[in-house]
């Protein structure tokens, strides 16, 4: 039985991943801000076959609360095999440009709070000599673009940080996975018109669960984004800066 911690458990992708794990009989510890939503998700996962589900209300940007949350998770699960960090927000880029405060808050939501969590988790898993830390990054972290570089910068920070962690924890036998989804049809992106590149949360969740099973380091989801981002990363800056992306 896998013992799994999910931070940002109310996000559509995390919820879909949790359902897959529940179907396999995993024990789950769910962390999110909204207590009512968390309870609804926990009940669902129990019906779907989870061995046990515990919930914990926490705002991930409250880094002072992380240690107590991890203690509670370890106590409830009786150990830890997988930690999935899935919380995040989609900033309004234009509003960020007009507000330093908002920009920093978004960097905190999507970047600093993730690093704070990952730091504690890394120490824990390194000491036990096994386990997985997975984070939901984004293709947006691969290159800064005018339309969402605040989000992209935070996701880029996370990607580089995880690269370093992976390098450090490889010796300890700990898997460090960076997930880079493209466009996903979730409540977070409800306002966007959807085209052929959009994926469903279930599809991305299946990719995450499989990547953890196969002990991958980094995964683009769906897979075609690896190619798209290969091209985008290789456009020379002198051309890239003139594109409206």
């Amino acid at each position: 039985m896998q013992k799994i911690l999910i931070v940002g458990a109310a996000s559509a992708i995390a919820e879909a991943a949790a359902r897959q794990w529940a179907g396999r009989g995993a024990a789950l510890f769910l962390v999110a801000r909204n207590a009512a939503k968390l309870e609804a998700i926990a009940a669902d996962l129990k019906v779907r076959g989870a061995a046990a589900v515990s919930t914990h209300v926490m705002d991930a940007t409250d880094t002072a609360a992380h240690a107590a949350m991890l203690d509670a998770a370890l106590a409830a699960l009786g150990g830890l095999d997988v930690a999935l960090i899935a919380h995040g927000t989609l900033p309004d880029q234009k509003a960020c440009e007009a507000s330093v405060e908002l920009t920093l808050r978004e960097i905190d939501n999507n970047g600093l709070s993730v690093i704070a969590l990952a730091t504690r988790l890394a120490n824990l898993l390194e000491a036990q000599g096994r386990g997985t830390i997975a984070v939901i990054g984004s293709v947006a972290g691969d290159r800064g673009r005018q339309s969402n570089y605040v989000y992209g910068a935070a996701k880029g920070l996370v990607a580089r940080f995880f690269e370093g962690l992976r390098n450090r924890l490889a010796k300890a036998g700990v898997q460090v996975l960076t997930v880079k989804p493209g466009f996903v049809d979730t409540p977070m992106t409800a306002a966007f018109p959807k085209g052929a590149l959009w994926a469903q949360p279930e599809q991305v969740a299946r990719g995450i669960v499989a990547a953890i099973d196969r002990r991958k380091d980094e995964v683009y989801l769906p897979g075609f984004w690896r190619l798209i981002m290969l091209v985008i990363r290789h456009i020379p800056e002198r051309i890239f800066k003139r594109l409206s992306l």
């Binding site: 009512a36 939503k37 609804a40 998700i41 009940a43 669902d44 019906v47 779907r48 049809d185 409540p187 409800a190 018109p193 959807k194």
Partner: protein, 429 residues
């Protein structure tokens, strides 16, 4: 979800909703919008009863959480947007089944409530609403009511079969049915002529929990195959699905020649007298091909489903089939079955004792509508009615004639709710 993604199954080209709002949590309030609202499940209704052109659709597929399942009693509580397929995947391995299921498993729980859907066991189990223990109804005034046959029974009766017009169903509790395995024991009998169908069907209803017939309505004498079924104490591997019609071809692939050839081949294929199959091909033969509705091309198609009372059933069904064969606009395998005497739970429920006939017709414009007008006359004269879930064109008078409790129903309609269907049958003449 973009506007293009909220379509009805018949692809008849209805004007889009002004806006689609997703409902993702059951405790959320209804959105404050200027125009009208209509819940949208999984769009498996054929016509405009699940559409709200120019208004707002409340897309409910995000309400897809289970709430509780008691594997000892078979009571399942879940959110309104859970698909019947998702329920089956969960409960069949634990020895339970849906008490009533329509011919596709890709419908939501609330969609099944709103149309009080029927299955192949109406003679034995009634319609879907008969197995709904309770649900929560959220109205635009912000009120939430728990409705059951005992509590707020009037709201229960208005909302079962209430076409999504009485408010948003947020969650429901269903009573499931025990099964010993995932298989169905099927008995197939060919028949030729309606007299033979009625005789065989009466026998099948006595002997089997499920009974339904496919008929070849293009043949001079209607002929077909009656399929009686019962849950069997056996487990079979699930058939691998996965065929899909990836896009709408520029022209309908359904024409007289292809229909006649298909129907004749289907009737003529070797039918084993008895076989045991996985439940999916028995209940959901069409689900094996994703988006099969696209083969009707860009103009889409209609379904015409009627029910006529027992006294008139033999004569009216014969007249309808003769009118269809005479028009040359055949249908791809028509479905014929009887509804039993068990009365429906809802004020506007479609099922009533009698014989129901359901046929798909490619949209050939006026020629198709003329045929429907002839069929309407037969159904009305027989004291029957049409199924709103399948309808895209019935005249207002036909609707009123078929649903005697309509006036009673209208007092339960939420003032903020409306649908394309509702405006069509209530506001025009």
């Amino acid at each position: 979800m973009s506007a293009a993604q909220a379509s009805a199954w018949g692809n008849l080209g209805w004007p889009p909703a002004a806006e689609i709002r997703r409902v993702d949590t059951r405790d959320a309030d209804l959105p404050a919008v200027a125009g009208t609202l209509l819940p949208y499940g999984n769009g498996r209704s054929y016509g405009d009863s699940c559409l709200n052109p120019g208004g707002t659709l409340l897309a409910t597929r995000g309400l897809d959480r289970f709430i509780a399942f008691d594997a000892d009693t078979g009571v399942l509580a879940c959110e309104a947007g859970v698909l019947l397929a998702e329920i089956l995947d969960l409960v069949v391995p634990r020895g339970w089944f849906l008490p009533v299921t329509p011919g596709t498993r890709y419908v939501t729980v609330a969609g099944a409530i709103a149309n009080d859907v029927h299955g192949k066991n109406h003679h034995a189990g009634g319609a879907f609403g008969a197995h709904v223990r309770s649900f929560e109804l959220l109205r635009s005034d912000g009120s939430r009511r728990r409705c059951s046959p005992a509590e707020n029974a009037d709201w229960f009766a208005a909302t079962v079969g209430g076409l999504g017009l009485t408010g948003l169903v947020t969650q429901a509790e269903l009573q499931l049915k025990r099964i010993a395995g995932n298989a169905i024991a099927v008995r197939n009998v060919r028949f030729s002529g309606l007299d033979e169908f009625f005789a065989l069907n009466a026998e099948a209803e006595r002997e089997h929990e499920y009974a339904v017939a496919w008929i070849d309505c293009l043949a001079k004498t209607p002929r077909g195959v009656l399929m009686g079924g019962d849950h069997a104490d056996a487990d079979l591997p699930a058939p691998r699905g996965g065929r899909n019609v990836p896009l709408t071809p520029p022209l309908s692939l359904i024409n007289h020649a292809s229909l006649a050839a298909f129907n004749a081949a289907y009737y003529g294929k070797p039918w084993p007298a008895a076989q045991t199959v996985h439940y999916r091909p028995y209940f959901y033969p069409l689900d094996a091909v994703g988006h099969w509705n696209r083969i009707y091309g860009p103009r889409g198609f209609y379904q015409y489903q009627s029910v006529v009372p027992p006294a008139a059933a033999r004569a009216a069904t014969g007249e309808m089939l003769a009118a269809i064969a005479g028009s040359g606009q055949g249908s791809f395998l028509a479905v014929l079955k009887n509804f039993g005497a068990r009365s429906s739970s809802g004020l506007l429920s479609f099922p009533m004792a009698g014989t129901t006939l359901a046929l798909d017709f490619p949209n050939h414009g006026a020629a198709t509508l003329d045929l429907f007008a002839r069929l309407d006359a037969i159904v009305r004269a027989a004291g029957g009615r049409l199924y709103p879930a399948k309808d895209a064109r019935m005249p207002a008078a036909m609707f009123r004639a078929g649903y005697p409790r309509l006036a009673e129903f209208t007092s339960y309609v939420d003032p903020k709710f409306s649908s394309g269907f509702w405006r069509r049958v209530m506001e025009n003449n």
